[in-house]
């Protein structure tokens, strides 16, 4: 056998071996990501009512209901509420996270403790913290209204007023996620060369100017990463809504995932829920693709 043939055979075996190493991960991906998406699409083409024992294929009937029937109003409303919630949570998370990172960017014992305390909410179950917040937010017996009463302020209907419910949800989520953003920003700040900051100091820049004109631009890749991940996770919010507001009051917190859940498991309309779910998946996919394309052109990774 010639050396070339031997080498070609070895190359093939190596490639096959490399591919085999990826098979377990690929299988997991197919089973837990691609297969559910394919099933979602398949069910959206049926008339599956969960309380009935059989179903049939009805083509695009569910999409007709969604885009040209009664489903449109509630779909758009949920999308809008989800968008507002996402905007609020992302803004609060990034701003708070950055400010906290800037504040705690020093290795003292006290600051170490504070960093841990701020990060902790992210790693406690949402359901547990939401239950606690349900009581903190209570109209009559809640701690927040008690503190307000000490200053002579009237009680706020945190979760029961149409004007406040979504804001209260955003505040809860922002409080949970700010620590995570702080952690990411802290490690990114550590990667900024001291030369830039020293040069700015020599030019007479104060702390605030250094943050705005040196750190912020150099933290752009981190901000982009946090924006994309927070937007995607924020748009999938469910647990906090399920425990705190159940989509109310007056459907003012009826976010997309909760709307889909209600349709599937309370109204038993798995078919319509799947159609909404698939469209929502496409929206998230398009958003992520656009963001990545934009970032390739506009975000510099030189720090």
């Amino acid at each position: 056998m010639s050396v070339q043939t031997k080498n070609a055979g070895l190359k093939h075996r190596r490639r096959a071996f490399d591919f085999l190493c990826t098979v377990p991960a690929l299988v997991l991906f197919i089973v837990f990501t691609y297969y559910p998406i394919a099933e979602l699409l398949r069910i959206s083409l049926t008339d599956w009512n969960l309380s009935r024992s059989s179903y049939g294929y009805v083509g695009l009937k569910n999409y007709e209901w969604l885009f040209a029937g009664r489903g449109w109003g509630q779909f758009i409303s949920s999308l809008k509420i989800t968008g507002l919630y996402t905007l609020g949570e992302v803004t609060l998370t990034l701003v708070l996270g950055l400010l906290l990172a800037h504040l705690f960017d020093r290795m003292t014992r006290w600051f170490n403790f504070m960093r841990v305390a701020i990060i902790m909410p992210r790693y406690i179950l949402v359901s547990s913290t939401a239950l606690v917040f349900m009581w903190l937010y209570n109209d009559l017996y809640g701690v927040f209204n008690y503190f307000l009463s000490l200053f002579g302020a009237g009680p706020v209907r945190w979760l029961t007023s149409r004007d406040m419910a979504l804001t209260s949800l955003v505040l809860f989520s922002g409080w949970r996620m700010a620590g995570y953003a702080m952690l990411i920003y802290l490690s990114a700040i550590k990667g900024i060369s001291e030369q830039y900051l020293e040069a700015a100091e020599v030019d007479g820049a104060n702390g605030w100017q250094k943050l705005l004109h040196i750190k912020l631009p150099l933290l752009a890749p981190t901000t982009l990463f946090l924006t994309v991940t927070t937007v995607v996770s924020s748009m999938k919010v469910f647990q906090a809504v399920d425990i705190l507001t159940q989509g109310g009051p007056y459907k003012t917190t009826m976010v997309m995932v909760y709307q889909i859940y209600k349709l599937a498991f309370e109204d038993h309309r798995l078919d319509r829920a799947s159609a909404e779910g698939f469209v929502f998946f496409l929206i998230l996919l398009i958003f992520t693709a656009i963001t990545m394309k934009w970032s390739n052109r506009n975000v510099s990774y030189d720090a």
Partner: protein, 420 residues
């Protein structure tokens, strides 16, 4: 050798553990229920008196809607994880019977000679002439009031709507600044069954079998405006939203509410908690209107999943029959506050003992045949959301009364048409 001995010892230990585990395994006849924690021990004692109690496993599986979700999910998976017996809400039974989720009980009723003659609400759990569930719990919306304060201050809970205004003004307490410190009446506006009587007692149709509603009619608007005036005046609290249920209970126990509307199943809960505060609880029907003297009644039946293995259904029915029998159900009513399922249950020894201890409950039992069950529609849950949200917007957000009622009726009609 040492290593081999360690492995053998470990294997032996594992085998012993497996053996013990299987010896401790619970019975296969699985009964899922929704009873709150305070009632579970007594329920277990009742089941322990069943002839084949050793075969039965009693499991709390969440609220009735959650149990239904689990049963439907188990159906999709081929019926492997199905319970033998599970509760179904009165608003769901016809849909589930139509869709083949619950078993037709007629053959078993005939085989075991179950007497349905005086079973309350049995027609609610029937579909096209066949029985699909046996009545297990009945709960009627009732008024609970602070009997101690009533006696001290000479307050009488109103029997008719005409007496409401005087009652509300007398039972409300305010401080110097005019803020209400004790509401005369607390309405649970978060669930429609707490306030449907408000409309039914005046001949208003919230929704009927054909999806029609007169909620935006003259009479309904008049009632709503009257209630809104009382809410604005601080005489009535309209509960709604997150935490509203807990707030109402706490307010009642702390005497910040003279009276509340609640399900009769909460009687024991209120009785026990009020007792710790030194108060007695009175029970009454909601005030009558000019068309009727009714209140909404609903409950749960016990059913057998249709997809349960055929060989298990006989055992399932025997347990179901036991749990819904007059004596067992009456015993359960005595420790829960649900109304007993048989019309003559209160004539049994258990029933008489219950009324002797809690004479207030006679006020409800005397009117049980006048209570009304809501219509069963596939979209009824969504319709109740419309009513709850609409009225809350009127009472709490000052939305225009007629405009909102018109929107509610449009929404109800749309939901009905969409469900066809």
């Amino acid at each position: 050798m040492k290593h081999l001995r360690k492995c053998l010892a470990l294997a032996l230990a594992l085998l012993l553990l497996l053996g013990c585990t299987s010896a401790l395994a619970e019975g296969p006849v699985l009964f899922w229920h929704t009873l709150e924690e305070m009632y579970r021990e007594d329920l277990q004692k009742l089941v322990d008196q069943y002839a084949s109690a050793d075969k039965v496993t009693v499991e709390y599986q969440g609220r009735v809607a959650e149990i239904l979700q689990k049963v439907l999910a188990a159906n999709v998976e081929g019926g492997e994880e199905l319970p033998y017996v599970f509760p179904v809400h009165s608003s769901e039974i016809k849909n589930l019977a139509r869709d083949g989720v619950v078993e037709n009980l007629d053959p078993y009723i005939e085989k075991y000679g179950t007497d349905l003659d005086k079973l309350n609400m049995k027609d609610v759990y029937a579909y096209e002439g066949s029985q699909y569930g046996l009545t297990w719990t009945i709960t009627g919306i009732s008024a609970f009031y602070n009997k101690t304060i009533a006696q001290e201050e000479g307050i009488t809970f109103p029997k008719t709507w005409d007496e409401m205004d005087e009652f509300l003004h007398k039972a409300t307490k305010k401080d110097e600044s005019g803020a209400t410190t004790r509401y005369a009446l607390w309405f649970p506006g978060w669930d429609s069954y707490y306030f449907t009587w408000l409309f039914w007692n005046f001949g208003v149709v919230t929704v009927d079998e054909e999806g029609n509603s007169t909620l935006n009619g003259e009479k309904a608007a008049e009632i709503v405006r009257q209630v809104k005036d009382w809410v604005d005046e601080g005489l009535i609290m309209w509960g709604y939203g997150s935490g509203a249920s807990s707030n109402m209970r706490s307010a009642f126990w702390d005497a910040k509410a003279f009276a509340i509307l609640h399900t009769s199943s909460q009687f024991k809960n209120h009785y026990d908690n009020m007792k710790t505060k030194g108060y007695e609880v009175g029970v009454a029907m909601p005030p009558a209107g000019d068309a009727a003297n009714t209140t909404e009644v609903f409950g749960m039946s016990l059913c057998i999943p249709a997809k349960l293995d055929e060989s298990k259904k006989d055992d399932a029915y025997q347990l179901l029959q036991y749990l819904c029998s007059k004596d067992t159900d009456c015993a359960m009513a005595s420790f829960t506050g649900f109304l007993a399922n048989y019309a003559d249950a209160m004539e049994t020894e258990t029933g008489k003992a219950f009324l002797a201890e809690y004479p207030e409950m006679a006020n409800l039992y005397d009117h049980i045949t006048e209570m009304t069950c809501a219509v069963q529609l596939p979209c009824y849950t969504a319709i109740t959301d419309v009513m709850e949200n609409g009225l809350a917007q009127i009472f709490l957000e000052n939305a225009d009364v007629q405009g909102t009622l018109d929107e509610m009726v449009d929404e109800i009609t749309g939901l009905y048409e969409d469900s066809l």
